[in-house]
């Protein structure tokens, strides 16, 4: 069985974000990067599937981006993926989801991946398009937002998360692509021996231009910080003073604090 996991590297969301010089993306300087949270669940699920099937599946992890995404790929290898593919693209932030999906689909075409895992969305862009679009391009069965995954007799049983705490159960035969949601599993931490082992695993680099054949379908016009409504009263400084002022405001403005 051949498995593909697609991951993205994103900035830590607690960072301060500034608009870049050309006004079309955030300034990438001084940001700390990590594996997209949703993709960590995808990697973990792929490795769990491998373990379930007695190590039989061969798991490829793929990421598109500049040099730094090598770190995310190495982490995925240390978590248990077998080989990594780095699609070199210093300009990946200017590709729209349609083009990112095109790159992945071009890579996967003809390679007969039985199962493809992706995150349900990225934390920075949040389009929730790439996984499903890849599936459509490859003709894979597909379902999204998994909070449960089972596999038996060539069929995936997926538990999908719907709104308001409701879930639904869907079965889909291979080949299939599923997108992973928060809470699907508990991603493992790479252990030191596994980090060492990962250094010996296959790591291939492919230029994006070799895979990309589509024009972007959506153009970014402008990037800007949210317009502050400025209505919030801001309290900072000494804790005791903050507490007094807060309780004072609550007594005045609400009926429930006396």
């Amino acid at each position: 069985m051949k498995v593909l996991v697609c991951i993205k590297q994103v900035p830590d969301m607690e960072s301060r974000f500034k608009v870049n010089g050309s006004g079309d993306w955030y300034d990438e300087a001084d940001l700390a990067y990590r594996m997209n949270e949703y993709d960590e669940y995808a990697v973990e699920q792929a490795v769990q599937l491998k373990e379930q099937l007695g190590d039989a599946p061969d798991v490829t992890v793929l990421s598109i981006g500049p040099d730094r995404v090598g770190d995310a790929l190495k982490k995925a290898l240390a978590m248990g993926c077998d080989r990594a593919v780095h699609v070199q693209d210093p300009d990946s932030c200017r590709k729209d989801p349609w083009q990112i999906a095109d790159i992945i689909a071009s890579f996967a075409k003809g390679k007969d991946f039985d199962v493809i895992f992706t995150g349900m969305q990225s934390q920075d862009r949040g389009s929730a398009q790439v996984g499903v679009t890849v599936a459509e391009r490859l003709g894979h069965n597909c379902t999204t937002t998994l909070v449960g995954f089972g596999f038996a007799d060539g069929v995936i049983t997926a538990k999908r998360e719907l709104e308001g705490g409701l879930k639904s159960v869907v079965k889909l035969p291979l080949p299939a692509l599923v997108t992973c949601q928060l809470g699907l599993n508990v991603p493992r931490y790479p252990t030191l021996p596994n980090i060492m082992k990962a250094k010996k695993k296959e790591f291939v680099t492919v230029p994006a231009a070799e895979l990309l054949s589509e024009e972007s379908a959506v153009a970014t016009e402008k990037l800007y910080p949210p317009v502050k409504s400025g209505s919030a009263v801001v309290l900072e400084g000494d804790l005791a003073q903050i507490a007094d002022r807060l309780l004072g405001i609550l007594k005045e403005k609400t009926t429930v604090v006396k």
């Binding site: 900035p11 499903v132 679009t133 379902t143 709104e163 705490g165 959506v218 800007y224 309780l247 609550l250």
Partner: protein, 302 residues
Amino acid sequence: MKALLICEQREGKILDTSYELVAFADRLGAEKVLVLVGKEAPKVDAKVYLADVDKFGEYNPDLHKQVVLEAIHKENPDYVVFVHSSYGWDLAPRVAAALKVGQVSEVVNIVDGKFELTLCNAKLRRTVAPKGARAVLTVQAGAFNAVEASGSAQVEAIDVAGSSKLQFVGYEPAEKKDVDLGRAEIIVSAGRGVGKKENVAIIAELAKAFGGELGASRPVVDAGWVAHSHQVGTTGQTVSPKLYVACGISGAIQHLAGMKKSDFIVAINKDKDAPISEAADVMVVADVLQLAPVLMEKLRAA
């Protein structure tokens, strides 16, 4: 300009977000035609294509895609619009891929005819424009106020041939509730910023000192620190207490959707610029673990 609005139902009931799509099309100034795989048409003065849910299934994106493509074929719309929901984000890219057109996800506003989206947990925003003559959109739930359900649809049945290997097995209901946040007058919620499971107890104590209930953001629930019944947000509960205190919560769109109707909102966060400040009435810039004991002492003394 014409917008084809893909409505949603669940177990026979039309979801209210369908009427948000109508509001969106009105804002866009577009002529609207609706599509629903369901039993009964939405109440709206417009044409509605109705596909039989018994034939096409509650969840069957392969077949629902064919239904939408057939309606597109008949109507030739400029925009095909979905809710950015578990149904919409699953189906929309399939339709966009079939049409080979761009998709814009999670539209929160229309600015000068462009679509406004959030980026990086709502810390930035951007406007985008699809390049082609036609585009697929998904609209953030709650971003456009639903129009009232009234009017009489001109219903037209729609049918397509097709098959799918996907099998919908059924629904799994939400876990039983051990707390009814919907009735609470005060909710004090713990977010990932509280750091670890043990610290949730401090927030729970603070909730008690306020005479309220404990709420939580999703990561706190996913990590198993508190039960799902405490989760506030799109996949948790929608609440509207008289006072909502968000402790160590950044204010992601999915959390805000569940609590922004609260009468009075206090956010306690180390980061002054956390997106929750947009929704908050009072933004307390502090380490919640340090502030909570001080607050509790004063509350108890009062």
